[in-house]
């Protein structure tokens, strides 16, 4: 593992025991971890923090996991969502992949597989936002305001309309 695993991760899982163990394992790896036990608080949390990686259980009490996935992706397409599922439902897998889920893991999940998925997801995230994770100092590769401005100057004006994306 050449890259430091230190994304902020949101763990969405209604089963408290499972969630606690996931959070603990991620923290041990140095992640900052947020947690939610249901869809609506998860969405709320995500909206506030915009976590790079989300660990999401598909079966949630009041809001379907797929719906949470859809909202996350529409709020921030670069964030990567690793899905935990209690059943190998093909339909859900297809729907999830159509919604750009990063990976599907079946329960009971292997901790190492989860950690690996979170790492891989973070790599993809960094790539998408145009950052390369470095061993020591991820801060160093954050573009300065000047760099951002010059990058934006290179883009034709009409493509910069922020609302142009969705409409």
């Amino acid at each position: 593992m050449s890259k430091t695993l230190a994304p902020t991760v949101l763990v969405v899982e209604d089963e408290e025991d499972v969630r606690r163990h996931l959070v603990r394992a991620l923290r041990r790896e140095g992640c900052a971890v947020d947690e939610a036990g249901d869809g609506p608080p998860a969405c709320e949390r995500f909206e506030a923090v915009l976590h790079p990686v989300v660990l999401l259980d598909l079966r949630l009490p009041s809001l379907d996991g797929l719906e949470v996935l859809r909202r996350i992706k529409s709020l921030r397409p670069e964030s990567q969502v690793v899905i935990l599922t209690g059943h190998g439902g093909k339909q859900d897998a297809v729907k999830g992949l159509n919604l750009h889920a990063f990976r599907f893991l079946e329960k009971p999940p292997d901790l190492d597989a989860i950690l690996q998925a979170v790492r891989d997801a973070y790599d993809v995230y960094l790539e998408l936002v145009g950052l390369e994770a470095t061993d020591e100092d991820t801060q160093g590769s954050t573009p300065t305001l000047e760099e951002v401005r010059s990058a934006m100057a290179a883009v034709p004006k009409d493509k910069l309309d922020p609302k142009g994306e969705d409409e």
Partner: protein, 593 residues
């Protein structure tokens, strides 16, 4: 405007009075307007009204149906329904017409539509129950019969007894059948000599035969079977089959001359009837009249030389006359027949029948295996959650131990321990489902059980924008309260899942009080079930929901209801329109604190 209305009334004079009201803005509104504007002309010739109103159409349909011109009847009813889509009488007409041509599925659809419009229509209830009977859905037929009983008027109660008697008869509970059918017979009196009255008599007779009470059976068979040929004008329907049974019952009761009269009655119309000839022969044998017996059996043998009954009778007749050589000849012929090709064919047919039984059993077994597969999936799913905890706890602990951290070891082991227990619970629950212990039943207020069950749902339903309507009255049922709550939880959670994705999901829960039972209904406006889903819905581990649920909910609820002496059934389900579930429970008197 008022003038138009007046002329309209003139136009419809001589026809039936229009008793329904047209919904505003339907195309018919216009049609009848233009019809009324022709008022003066049409009033002179009331036999040819320009546009028949829906109730005219229904009347016309009913007349056609009574003449057994079903196509014409259906056309008329259909036309009425085009104008007023939820016209109860027209739906009833459609239903009864389909009943007449044995299209029970279609009949049921229309009768249920009629009941949607007017839930207390005795005619529709009776028709629907009849259709369900024919479709072999006895349980649902029974619940309609009970609703019919609730209506309270003599006709409805009579019909209800008839339906319930028929169900009991079909299920082999002849004592009960007799009770119901006797009551429905009394209710009918001599009022009608219709098909149903005859059927009532027939079923009563067959039930008495099964109960080994031939005199009673005879009584009803004779009641229903007219004597042929005496007075053409007052001739009642007469059936050869029934007459044959009458003859045989007389024989059984050693009333030989009555038996002979019966068989002769058949033979006067159908001189070659082999069964009747054999019966006649037996009757003559019974009064030791060898000559006449021989005569009867000979006629049979002339047509069918290998008729075993006749040969046997002949042998007896010869013995009577002391002609033992001849008797031996007939017996020899029977012996040869038993090894001959005819009998071999007979035997092969029987073997085929057995083969088919074996195959049916095999089919059942395959189906059980399929159920088992579904079960395996369901259990696997339930077990995954605790297994997840166990695995994660173990792996976390190992990682900690690997780095020398023992601080959380105890907690991890506790997690593992607790979840092993949980898995054990799941397995125990599964085992309990099939062999549930008897719970204590006590008078329970339905509304309380419903309220308790709903505590689990309020937030969810509100969250999903599902509208909940409650119409549970002050009924008391004799039940095991936690079991009833569990049943309701199951039904409501199914309803909740069914309205998932519906823009305006609606769940209604209401109750109905009866003399010995109470009913609880849960209706949703969700996706409904296909015919196949409906037939499997109560099977264990059947589920249409990928991912959630084990497919045990309804099965458990069904068994719980049954254990408390109640019944759970799918009252109605229509694709895209929703499902109504019904729970019948024994009624309890209000607890006097």
């Amino acid at each position: 405007m008022s003038e138009q209305r007046k002329s309209g009334r003139t136009a419809s004079r001589g026809r039936s009075r229009v008793t329904y009201s047209l919904p505003n803005g339907t195309p018919t509104g216009k049609v009848s307007d233009s019809a009324t504007s022709h008022g003066p002309e049409t009033s002179s010739s009331p036999r040819t009204p320009c546009v028949p109103t829906p109730s005219d159409l229904v009347k016309r349909g009913e007349e056609a149906r009574k003449r057994h011109q079903i196509d014409e009847a259906l056309t008329a009813f259909r036309a009425a329904l085009l104008v007023v889509p939820d016209f109860c009488d027209a739906h009833c007409g459609m239903g009864y017409s389909y009943l007449e041509v044995n299209m029970y599925g279609e009949a049921l659809q229309h009768l249920e539509a009629a009941l949607d419009v007017r839930p207390s229509s005795g005619r529709a209830l009776y028709g629907a129950a009849t259709a369900l009977l024919e479709l072999g859905r006895l349980e649902e037929a029974g619940s309609y019969a009970l609703r019919l009983h609730e209506l309270g008027d003599l006709r409805s109660v009579t019909s209800s007894h008839f339906i319930r008697g028929t169900i009991a008869y079909n299920e082999g509970r002849f004592g009960e059948a007799v009770e119901h059918l006797e009551r429905s017979f009394d209710g009918r009196g001599q009022r009608d000599q219709q098909r149903t009255w005859r059927r009532n008599c027939y079923l009563l007779a067959q039930s008495y035969v099964e109960l080994n009470r031939p005199e009673r059976a005879l009584h009803y068979l004779r009641l229903m079977n007219g004597v042929p040929g005496r007075d053409r004008r007052r001739e009642k329907p007469w059936s050869r089959k029934v007459e044959d049974q009458i003859g045989r019952l007389h024989l059984e009761l050693a009333q030989v001359s009555e038996a002979i009269a019966s068989f002769n009655r058949i033979l006067s119309r159908f001189p070659d009837d082999e069964r009747a000839l054999n019966g006649l022969g037996q009757a003559h044998l019974a009064r030791h009249d060898g000559e006449k017996a021989t005569e009867a059996f000979r006629k049979v043998l002339a047509r069918n030389p290998n008729d075993i009954w006749a040969l046997d009778g002949m042998a007896e007749a010869c013995k009577l006359r002391g002609d033992l050589a001849r008797a031996a000849g007939y017996i020899e012929q029977i012996r040869r027949l038993y090894t001959g090709p005819e009998l071999q064919i007979q035997r092969r047919l029987e073997a085929l029948g057995r083969e088919r039984q074996r195959r049916d059993a095999e089919l059942l077994r395959v189906r059980n295996i399929a159920a088992l597969n579904v079960m395996a999936t369901g259990i696997a799913h339930e077990l995954r959650q605790p297994l997840s905890v166990i695995r994660l706890a173990a792996q976390n602990a190992r990682k900690d131990v690997g780095s020398g951290d023992m601080s959380q070891l105890d907690g991890d082991l506790a997690d593992i321990d607790r979840n092993v227990e949980r898995i054990d619970d799941i397995i125990n629950t599964l085992r309990r489902i099939s062999a549930a212990e008897e719970g204590e039943t006590k008078p329970t207020r339905l509304s309380e059980a419903v309220a308790e069950a709903l505590t689990l749902f309020h937030a969810q339903l509100k969250n999903r924008g599902v509208e909940l309507t409650l119409g549970v009255g002050n009924e008391w049922a004799m039940v095991d309260p936690p079991a009833l709550v569990q049943i309701i939880v199951n039904l409501v959670s199914n309803a909740r899942d069914a309205v998932e994705g519906q823009a305006r999901g609606r769940i209604e829960i209401w109750s109905v009080d009866g003399p010995s039972n109470v009913w609880l209904y849960v209706r949703d406006n969700g996706k409904g079930m296909t015919r196949e889903e409906r037939s499997q819905a109560l099977d264990p581990f059947f589920t249409t929901k990928t991912g959630i649920g084990t497919g045990l909910g309804l099965y458990i609820a069904y068994n719980l209801a049954r254990k408390m002496g109640g019944r759970l059934s799918i009252k109605e389900t229509n694709l895209m329109k929703g499902t109504t579930m019904q729970v019948e429970l024994p009624r309890a008197e209000e607890k006097s604190e």
